[in-house]
């Protein structure tokens, strides 16, 4: 039982990342009708906001200590982060909490990147075919990853999590199972809670604000909303920016789990499209449900007992599920009629 619960927790934490990326992808597809292959790159750019923030506050002053020698006989260089030199104790706290603090940087940066991407390139492809949209957004993704590679190099860059959130929480104790029966890393639990909070915030924004109501109306019937004198195009542009922010935040909080490199977006791209297709094109609840479902299935498929029966199942479970769901429900779990249908 405890093993099943542990895998379930793992599935929810993985599913959180899938759901967040797929949510942004579906927002863009549902509002603008654009198949955005650069969405994975937005996740990666968000992760690099965290990297850039940390590099900025840990820029170092180098002093030479002639009393100590390096292994090759040169005087030893003592490096001190500038933030610590300038702000003392507060600088040390900033460095310690650099990942959560970098959200402050990531929100405006991702919003600007999203709006610039939509206004600069993607708007010119609204009336083009999906194939052309895929080509141009895929090109954008490659440009983004090459720029990051040129600036930050090809290697993954570790982002340490705050000391207070290292180690594992005794989840079993919370559930009355006794001490050390079921433990799970604090940061992964936080990631799941963070994903759930962002998803809830996006749904609340669309459900309970006038802006969101207009956007939902535009998703259902763009022409009629336009005839009412509402500039729906501007709202959709903002939604593109919002989708970029959601993907970026997912990337920021993911960095302590897996050190990001320039290829991170591509690693998630295909997966997130499968999530969207399984959930149903254009369906926001479908994307979230499919994200968590596929995360949980992938986690269970990685168990030794399952792999012993079906070797390699952990690598194909997501695609296998997609095939089965599309055979049984061609529009996906909660697909909207008319989406990607002639």
């Amino acid at each position: 039982m405890d093993a099943i619960l542990a895998q379930l927790l793992n599935g929810l934490d993985k599913g959180g990342a899938y759901a967040l990326i797929a949510l942004g992808l579906t927002l863009v597809f549902g509002t603008l009708g654009v198949v955005n292959f650069a969405h994975g790159a937005l996740f990666m750019l968000g992760a690099f906001c965290a990297v850039a923030f940390r590099q900025l506050i840990t820029m170092e002053t180098v002093t030479i200590d002639p009393s100590q020698l390096s292994p090759w006989g040169a005087p030893l260089e003592i490096k001190t982060p500038l933030a610590q030199t300038w702000f003392g104790e507060f600088g040390a706290v900033m460095i310690e909490y650099s990942v959560p603090l970098s959200i402050v940087l990531a929100i405006p940066v991702m919003l600007i990147i999203g709006i610039a991407m939509e206004r600069g390139i993607i708007k010119h492809f609204y009336k083009r075919s999906h194939a052309e949209q895929i080509l141009v957004t895929f090109g954008l993704a490659i440009v983004a990853q090459e720029v990051i590679k040129a600036i930050f190099g090809p290697n993954p860059i570790s982002q340490p999590m705050p000391t207070s959130l290292r180690g594992a929480a005794d989840v079993g104790l919370w559930l009355g199972m006794g001490p050390n029966v079921l433990t799970y890393p604090w940061w992964r639990l936080l990631y799941f809670v963070f994903s759930a909070a962002i998803i809830a915030a996006v749904f609340a924004f669309l459900r309970f604000t006038t802006f969101g109501m207009v956007v939902r109306a535009g998703m259902a019937d763009r022409e009629t909303v336009g005839l009412l004198g509402i500039n729906i195009g501007r709202r959709f542009t903002i939604m593109f920016g919002l989708a970029a922010v959601v993907a970026g935040l997912a990337g920021v909080m993911y960095t302590p789990l897996v050190p990001p490199n320039y290829h991170l977006g591509m690693d998630f791209l295909v997966l997130s499209f499968v999530v969207v297709v399984v959930g149903g094109m254009g369906s926001l609840p479908g994307a979230v449900a499919a994200g968590f479902l596929l995360g949980i299935l992938q986690s269970f498929a990685s168990m030794a007992q399952v792999k012993a029966m079906l070797p390699g199942i952990d690598q194909i479970i997501i695609y296998l599920t997609a095939v089965i769901i599309l055979l049984v429900r061609p529009r996906g779990l909660i697909g909207r009629r008319g989406m990607m249908e002639s």
């Binding site: 405890d2 093993a3 542990a6 895998q7 927790l9 793992n10 599935g11 934490d13 993985k14 100590q68 390096s70 292994p71 090759w72 006989g73 040169a74 030893l76 090809p154 290697n155 993954p156 570790s158 340490p160 290292r166 180690g167 594992a168 050390n180 079921l182 433990t183 799970y184 890393p185 940061w187 992964r188 789990l257 897996v258 050190p259 290829h263 690693d267 992938q298 986690s299 990685s302 168990m303 030794a304 792999k307 012993a308 070797p311 952990d314 690598q315």
Partner: protein, 446 residues
Amino acid sequence: MALLTRRRLLQTGMAGIIGTGIAPMMFTKGAWAQEFCNNPTGDTVTFGFNMPLTGAYADEGADQQRALTLAVEHLNGEGDGGLLPTFSSKSLTGKGVLGKKVAYVTGDDQTKADAGRDSARRMIERDGAIMICGASSSAVAIAEQALCQEMGVIYMAGLTHSNDTTGKDKKKYGFRHFFNAYQSGIALGPVLGEAYGKDRVAYHLTSDYTWGWTQEESMKNATEALGWKTITPVRTPVGAGDFSQYLTPVLNSGADVLILNHYGFDGVNSLTQAVQFGMKDKTVNGKKFEIVLPLVSDLMAKGAGEAMKGVYGTSNWDWQLKDAASAAFTKSFGAKYGQPPSQIAHTSYVQALLYADACERAGTFYPPEVIKALEGFEFDGMGNGPTLYRDTDHQCFKDVLVVQGKRAPTNQYDLLDVVATASKESVTYDPAIFGGELGPDTAAMC
């Protein structure tokens, strides 16, 4: 006037014999020179360095590139000479190789066998590389080694630890200085037995390719010989990034030791994630839970940081060794790059020098002669003590280091402690146990 005296006849005859027989043999001492791939005809000879500059082992590739660049400098007489003065063979003089200045080309194998093979082929066909050196993945090394065998170009492997490289997939044109998984098991087993006892249950997470498989098998054999039990190993994809779904089942499996058959960024990620799961703080079966990383490098220890403390593994070489050669290489590398060299830097540097030295001793670049010079070659002064390049499988035999993540580092580079050394004799084995055929040494035109 006698047209032809007997004396004149003898003189003419001798001149004729010399002219048509011996002299051409003198001039054609290197007649094979025209009959092999990328015979250098100008005043330079080109080495091909193929490394993972991207992918799961990119950190290793970057250090490999630094070391190989340094090797070329030293071969050409630049810098402080590095290991040339300590190397027991005195054929290398710092004037290039066989009077030709060493040039080099580089490629990115992307930590992928097909990309590595394509890159090596490009260097041979387009850039005229006479030898290929590099790789940090056994899958890549084995693929490149097979290509080099086809093309008649000598392959000096970089970091490849699979038993298969000089076992079932060995090649006449391939040579490995690095140790292998079998030797890791032999060296690490007794240390683990002493540290953790004889009654343990091990859980393996294994990179799903040739190196992972052979390391898993070697570690399983070594630990089961101690009396440990093994839970069915779990294979993980290379470059998985997030290993959490494979680590979660470990917690409730009944295992009290996790053996991570991962290398490079995979090793760093799986180790740090295992520690995030609280595994180092757990008690299972009444014993403290332990993590083992059988193949470890300074670069991985640096990447894993705190997580590496107290973790056992094995290494081919460590910059903190006290012998004159290790000190000379560390000094040379540190002065140029501002950091100590890693084990991959060391083995790659040594491989480049060993190839150059073999050419000098053979007196030619003709591959079959260079192969003969390397086979059975015994040397010292390269940082590993007395070493043998065994002729039957082209595997180097030397001491193997057992290392442990340092608990109290004295500086940023002080990451690993050498806690034991398995002697060259103890890690020597019968080549027949891994099978394979070296194949022919026939020179080929590429």
